[in-house]
Symmetry: C2
Subunit: 272 residues, 2 copies
């Protein structure tokens, strides 16, 4: 490809920067516009209709105002509840995080039994269980509501976080055993969780594969763009970040998720 692709990345907050980070490593030669709809988060507590409207407005901003030719929905809730609405709202291809995560779990699992950890809203949608089932997998989902605030507190390598994760994992493994499952794969179904990956990989039983939906989504996107292009000789990516509120928190915490400075975050207004 000679042309620099313009990729829009959307999340309700800034957790989706882990997806942008993965995209940068797989498609470094693109121009990226990232939008965090921070004024209207959390999406998880809102109705499907409201989420669909918010996500469609955000997608239209990225396509119409920022010229995005391809959209990545780096938000599990919007991927679970509003992917169709987003696809209807914009004339460009749209990729969510859930299907790639489930496909990656299918590739990794020998037993066909997988565990999924995510936020309460994502678990209640059962989007991962549905996507895994369509891949021929059995999935057991568990909400881990303390992990996001622990990541946002910066305690990604803290003993308290390791202890909280051990408690959640024990509950999940016990439930899996009670249901006669033999899980060999754990899917990280929340964009905040990749920051905990080193700690999670130490905690899981020997041999259990850890699948990161952010990484899986970036791999799926890369296949659509330059399957044969070598990453090494690509020019640097251009990144523009936008938020609908809380620019200060985005700038302060975002660099941890992106693993590079996010720079200036532009405040935009998408309405109420």
């Amino acid at each position: 490809m000679n042309k620099t692709p313009a990729i829009g990345v959307f999340d309700s907050g800034f957790g989706g920067l882990t997806v942008l980070r993965a995209l940068l490593s797989h498609i470094p030669s693109a121009r990226y516009a990232f939008l965090g709809d921070t004024a209207r988060l959390p999406y998880g507590s809102k109705s499907r209709r409201t989420i669909a409207r918010y996500a469609a407005e955000s997608a239209q901003f990225l396509v119409r105002e920022q010229g995005a030719e391809f959209l990545v929905i780096a938000c599990n809730t919007a991927s679970a509840l509003a992917l169709d609405a987003i696809q209807d709202a914009v004339p460009v291809p749209v990729l969510g995080v859930i299907e790639p995560g489930a496909a990656s779990a299918r590739a990794a699992s020998q037993s066909g039994d997988v565990l999924v950890i995510a936020t309460d809203a994502t678990v209640q949608s059962h989007a991962y269980a549905t996507a895994c089932r369509s891949q021929g997998l059995r999935a057991l989902e568990k909400a881990c509501p303390l992990l996001v605030p622990l990541v946002e507190e910066g305690w990604t390598q803290h003993p308290v976080t390791a202890e909280v994760f051990r408690i959640y994992l024990d509950e999940l493994l016990h439930q899996a055993a009670a249901e006669g499952m033999s899980p060999d794969t754990l899917v990280l179904g929340c964009t905040h969780y990749p920051l905990l990956r080193p700690m999670i990989e130490k905690a899981v039983p020997a041999g259990m594969r850890v699948i990161d939906s952010a990484e899986a989504t970036a791999e799926a996107a890369a296949k659509l763009f330059h399957p044969h292009e070598s990453v090494e000789r690509s020019p640097a990516a251009q990144i523009s970040c936008f938020a609908t509120d809380s620019v200060e928190k985005f700038e302060r915490l975002g660099s941890r998720f992106l693993e590079r400075p996010v720079g200036h975050v532009e405040l935009i207004d998408l309405g109420g």
Copy 2:
């Protein structure tokens, strides 16, 4: 008083049910309408203008639709940023949680130095520091963002929560010492924290007084209603609960905050 007072209680979520619980114990003979603006939480990440509009709309619902003759703003963020706007929006008396908390700290403190723990948004507003200063107190505020999710996870007596609180408290005591303060009082500046009070009282240094803003606010409200009435012979209170979204979570978690069943929570629409 012969007439049953009609008291409106407002919060952005359901944490303010701890204020309602305290009100029930001090003014058991009232008719209560509680509104949680759960569709639009968290207020903490929004601008002062937006919070003022949301809070004014919520206050008008309680006064116009529910006949409240007195309003308690059981939300630290709205009390800090929107008390004037609420007072302008309704023709009834309005009491926030911050002034009573500071007044209670003034009554408790011998040294004049107090510590305040709260959410990030409340700390950034410095509303407690300002209110304490006007009482002649020096206040040191600290955001404890993990405590709300730990309470919502139900881990109010969990060793992980005790450890997290110990870490926050150590940081706060070290900072106070570095600033030459001799704090003898700790203000719980978040409506979720009363559920942690037994654990907090065990953790603080010997002799430190723990002030609960919810309790202080209910005491202040009671003085306005029936200063001489005996609580014992009062009839049972009537409670109606309303929320703008997430009724299921409100019903599920609310009873822990209220220490009695919240019953049916009615979903209402205040607009976008």
